[in-house]
């Protein structure tokens, strides 16, 4: 009745009409005063039907077709920035949620498009090396490459001769600015390799097995003969972690602040460096662990074993999350690429396989090489480096397409000990028997960094701020799973889980209640009364629990009984009620 009054239009005719209607209604109302007796039980009635009657505004078409609007974004670019397909809306029953989700989807699409559009603002381009007719890229030596690039880039190719304490292992920081060298015979050096400024150099007077930067460049960990030590960038020993015993390999998980170590006796441990406590430590029961790498996509640790098996570990379960038989002979090396897409494994039978880490059903590529690779590494742009004795070979596109010829090759006079690609740079840092060599590999690194994620040109205050921020955003170790996006998905207990939970109730002991009565003021109940109260509360809780269990058991029993129920008799109604 009152509805028309809400939407009175300004037209004279309409006004007259409405006034007429109102007059009519005044006459009618006297007869039709309505009374609604409301049921207090909420039978909630949506406003959908009434709202749907309101007319929708028509969309105006573009008045000036000369200017059709923004340029379309190429599909591949949108795909790069998209977080997957939207949800299937067909299953949503209520209109309001359908609309809400549609709105959300539109927002997500908009953000993807914006992110894709912003790409033209990126300033740097990827490096490349192209051969002319009659040449191959393999034939170019480091000297030739260094000579033909600009001076600043050429200074990134250098050689450190450290004959006395080798062989060396080397690690870059997450932003690629700082380098940590560890010689087997105890020599440790940390420096800014852009400016070649040395932070510290020390001899730990013990054997060094592995080195590892922590979350910032002022701290690093060294796996020494017995224990793991933490030093600051002046070379001062900060901690000696005796619980990490005889460690062979270390990895740092930057978003979780975990230092993961693999030991000689087969122990895996995760140490939370922000609070200095070991999160978990257990024996893998797989013997000596020599190959350890992390999957940067989901922070799962990958171990390579002598049986040709790769196992994946998280601190939450004592069993491996996955175990893959990769090779038929002893494995020599494995590495997961920084995007967490590909895993490269190598074995003594001269085979090299590339796997899709998310699928693991079969290798993407399988290669047979001339000699067995002892080291592998994948770069940010998925270049593959292989170390075979004293030769480093770098392959391009080897993950997606089978490749035969190497992209680059470098031969040393001495055997290689380890190598790593430098993030955000076209550089491969190789630790050898006699020192460290930095090789130029055009096209290896991501040219555009994100300053809020990893910034090579970070100042001290920026570093301090980002340290605080990242500590606040520390991800709990419980969230380390194979699929890191699972936290954003819906968790629906299956029927099996529900039944299982109910059944479990039968065998659970009543919970112990540690109830501490509040101390009221003086003279309000002595210790005897408090004790009494305590007893009462505990008894009550126990009774309630027993009641719950009873309900469940009777429910379960009644289901069984219901099956062998006799057919109903007419005279049953006179039986006493149960």
């Amino acid at each position: 009745m009152a509805k028309t009054r809400y939407f009175v239009s300004d037209d004279k005719k309409a006004k007259e009409e409405t006034t007429k209607k109102v007059k009519n209604k005044i006459h009618n109302t006297k007869k039709k005063e309505r009374v609604y007796n409301v049921k207090v039980k909420p039978n909630v009635w949506g406003r959908k039907r009434e709202d749907s009657k309101i007319k929708k505004v028509k969309q105006i078409s573009n008045p000036n077709p000369k200017y059709p609007g923004k340029a379309p974004v190429p599909k591949e670019l949108l795909e790069k920035y998209s977080r997957g397909d939207g949800i299937n809306k067909s299953g949503i029953k209520t209109g309001i949620y359908k609309k809400k989700l549609e709105h959300k989807e539109r927002n997500i699409e908009f953000t993807t498009e914006q992110a894709a559009r912003v790409e033209i603002l990126l300033t740097e381009d990827t490096g490349y090396l192209e051969a002319e007719d009659g040449e191959t890229t393999t034939q170019f030596t480091q000297k030739q490459i260094a000579d033909s690039v600009d001076i600043a880039a050429a200074s990134k190719s250098f050689d450190l001769k450290l004959m006395d304490f080798g062989p060396y292992c080397a690690k870059y920081t997450r932003n690629g600015r700082h380098l940590l060298l560890g010689g087997k015979k105890g020599h440790v050096a940390a420096f800014d390799w852009f400016t070649k400024k040395l932070y510290c150099e020390l001899n730990v007077m013990e054997s060094v097995h592995d080195v590892c930067w922590l979350h910032i460049e002022t701290m690093f960990a060294i796996a020494q003969k017995e224990w793991v030590y933490i030093y600051d960038n002046q070379g001062i020993e900060l901690h000696c972690l005796k619980r990490l015993n005889r460690v062979t390999k270390m990895e740092f998980l930057p978003y979780h602040f975990l230092l993961a170590t693999a030991s000689d006796q087969g122990y895996l441990s995760w140490l939370d460096i922000s609070i200095g406590e070991i999160v978990t430590q257990y024996n893998t029961k797989l013997g000596r662990l020599t190959m350890l790498t992390q999957n940067p996509y989901n922070a799962v640790l990958c171990l390579g074993h002598a049986k040709g098996v790769v196992s994946m570990w998280s601190p939450n379960t004592r069993d491996p999350l996955a175990k893959i038989l990769c090779h038929k002979s002893t494995m020599t090396a494995l590495h997961v690429d920084p995007k967490g897409l590909y895993m490269a494994t190598a074995a003594t039978d001269r085979s090299l396989k590339i796997w899709d880490v998310r699928k693991l059903s079969g290798p993407l590529q399988s290669y047979n090489l001339r000699s067995a690779p002892t080291h592998v590494a994948l770069s940010q742009k998925s270049l593959l480096a292989l170390g075979m004795g004293n030769v480093v070979e770098i392959y391009r596109d080897s993950c997606t397409t089978p490749t035969r010829t190497p992209y680059l090759r470098h031969r040393f006079n001495i055997p290689i000990n380890s190598f790593n690609f430098c993030p955000y740079e076209d550089v491969l840092g190789v630790g050898t028997e006699w020192g460290f060599t930095s090789l130029l590999v055009p096209g290896a690194g991501e040219p555009n960094f994100d300053a809020l994620e990893a910034n090579p040109y970070q100042t001290k205050s920026q570093r301090q701020e980002s340290e605080v921020k990242s500590l606040l955003e520390k991800i709990q170790p419980d969230l380390i799973t194979l699929d890191p996006t699972s936290i954003a998905e819906i968790d629906i207990p299956t029927l099996k889980d529900k039944v299982e939970a109910k059944r479990k109730l039968l065998f659970v002991k009543p919970p112990k209640i540690n109830y501490e009565p509040r101390r009221k003021g003086k003279g309000k109940g002595g210790s005897a009364k408090i004790f009494k109260n305590k007893k009462i509360v505990q008894e009550l809780a126990k009774k309630e629990f027993v009641k719950d269990v009873k309900v469940v058991t009777t429910e379960m029993r009644s289901k069984k009984v219901a099956k062998n129920k006799k057919p109903k008799n007419v005279l049953d109604r006179f039986l006493p009620k149960k």
Binding site: V40, P42, E130, L440, E453, E473
Partner: protein
């Protein structure tokens, strides 16, 4: 041979002088931002924790009344002014910004049942059990002048509630009957009656000024149209409705505070069922008031708590309570959508923040951005047990 190696000019990445802002090149490639979901979750969790830390809703208490506060009225033109009336017939005018009582005078002999400002804010009307309706100036009397009403109307019947139309000069009172008054006249211009039961609250619709809603003691809510000669609708509940409030944004919706501990939201277009039932109070709900945005409302109850509900939710978002606060008699949501005012039995008027952890005062743009971001995150991860 064509070769190019990444070579960055440091000048492009470092600031020129110490007073410059740092350069922050961004790259939104999802591969460079791992653990997106987990980090967002942690941020949401931190935001929730901070919200709990900063949740200090109580702002101040205005004391001065010598008897329980019976009703409060907001000034429609000034945010900082508030008028309150008590059971002993005293009226007080408060300055909220200074937390001071500006004026106090004995207005009536007997319990003041209702107080309301007229829309231009120059005058306010009080009515009491002594059957008088008095109009007062908002302006303070000059030095030496006495507090005297501008106008006094003697009603023939007992009156229990008042509501002024948002536009125009009409106001309505309720009691034995519902009466419609004009400011300039001393006789009601219209009288409505439905049955014999008395009414204890009346509210004008804030948008459609001809619609009135009143709560009757026969457990019903009655809708009147002032253009009609009689009432038009009646909703009979299981128990008595104490107060009601119209949604200022969707003025066809009103919420009633019921004796049965619940609040009921009705759509006037469909009165057969309430569109929503808001539960959580553990005693009779005595007052309800909508926020000016129309998205939330506040309710006060005999259980000595104030609860804030979102319009479309069945349970309350927040509950406010202090040790010394007794039964609530009236609650109001201020017109700047920031504060809640509550008058209670123990003579105090309390000022609360509408959002418990909100920062008072102006926000810097970055601050606002961060707050908006964490708000969005909280909504995204609302279904996680730790965040909700």
């Amino acid at each position: 041979m064509k070769v190019k190696v990444i070579s960055r000019n440091p000048d492009e990445y470092l600031r020129d002088t110490k007073k410059d802002l740092y350069k922050v090149p961004r790259n939104f490639d999802p591969d460079l931002h791992p653990f997106e979901a987990a980090r967002e979750y942690v941020r949401a969790l931190n935001a929730v924790k901070l919200e709990r830390v900063f949740a200090k809703p109580f702002v101040t208490s205005l004391d001065g009344h010598r008897d329980a506060v019976s009703c409060i009225a907001k000034n429609p033109t000034e945010l900082s002014v508030l008028v309150s009336a008590s059971y002993d017939g005293e009226v007080r005018v408060w300055d909220l910004a200074q937390r001071k009582c500006l004026r106090d005078f004995l207005a009536h002999e007997g319990v003041i049942r209702g107080v309301t400002y007229i829309p231009d804010g120059n005058q306010f009307i009080t009515l009491a059990d002594d059957k008088t309706i008095k109009t007062w100036k908002t302006q303070m009397p000059q030095f030496g002048e006495d507090e005297e009403p501008v106008n006094t109307i003697l009603s023939k019947t007992v009156i229990g509630g008042i509501s002024h139309c948002v536009r125009g000069t009409k106001f309505a009172t309720c009691g034995e009957v519902c009466q419609l008054w004009e400011q300039t006249r001393n006789e009601p211009i219209r009288t409505y009656q439905w049955g014999v039961d008395s009414l204890h609250d009346v509210r004008f619709n804030p948008v459609e000024c001809n619609i009135l809603a009143a709560c009757a003691s026969d457990r019903s809510i009655i809708l009147y149209d002032t253009r009609d000669s009689g009432p038009i609708r009646k909703v009979v509940m299981k128990m008595r409705t104490n107060r009601l409030s119209w949604n200022p944004m969707e003025a066809f919706v009103f919420t009633s505070a019921n004796e049965d501990y619940n609040l009921y939201t009705f759509d006037t277009r469909h009165l057969k069922h309430p569109t929503n039932v808001h539960m959580d109070h553990v005693s009779a709900v005595t007052d309800v008031d909508y926020s000016p945005t129309g998205k939330e409302f506040v309710s006060g109850s005999y259980d000595r708590t104030i609860r804030i509900f979102e319009c479309d939710k069945g349970h309350s978002r927040d509950v406010y309570h202090t040790k010394r606060m007794q039964r609530l008699t009236s609650v109001k949501w201020t017109l700047d959508n920031k504060y809640i005012l509550s008058g209670s039995d123990e003579m105090n008027i309390r000022v609360w923040k509408a959002r418990a952890s909100e920062k008072l005062g102006p926000l810097k743009p970055r601050e606002r951005l961060a707050l908006n971001y964490s708000e969005a995150l909280k909504e995204k991860y609302a279904h996680h047990p730790q965040i909700d």
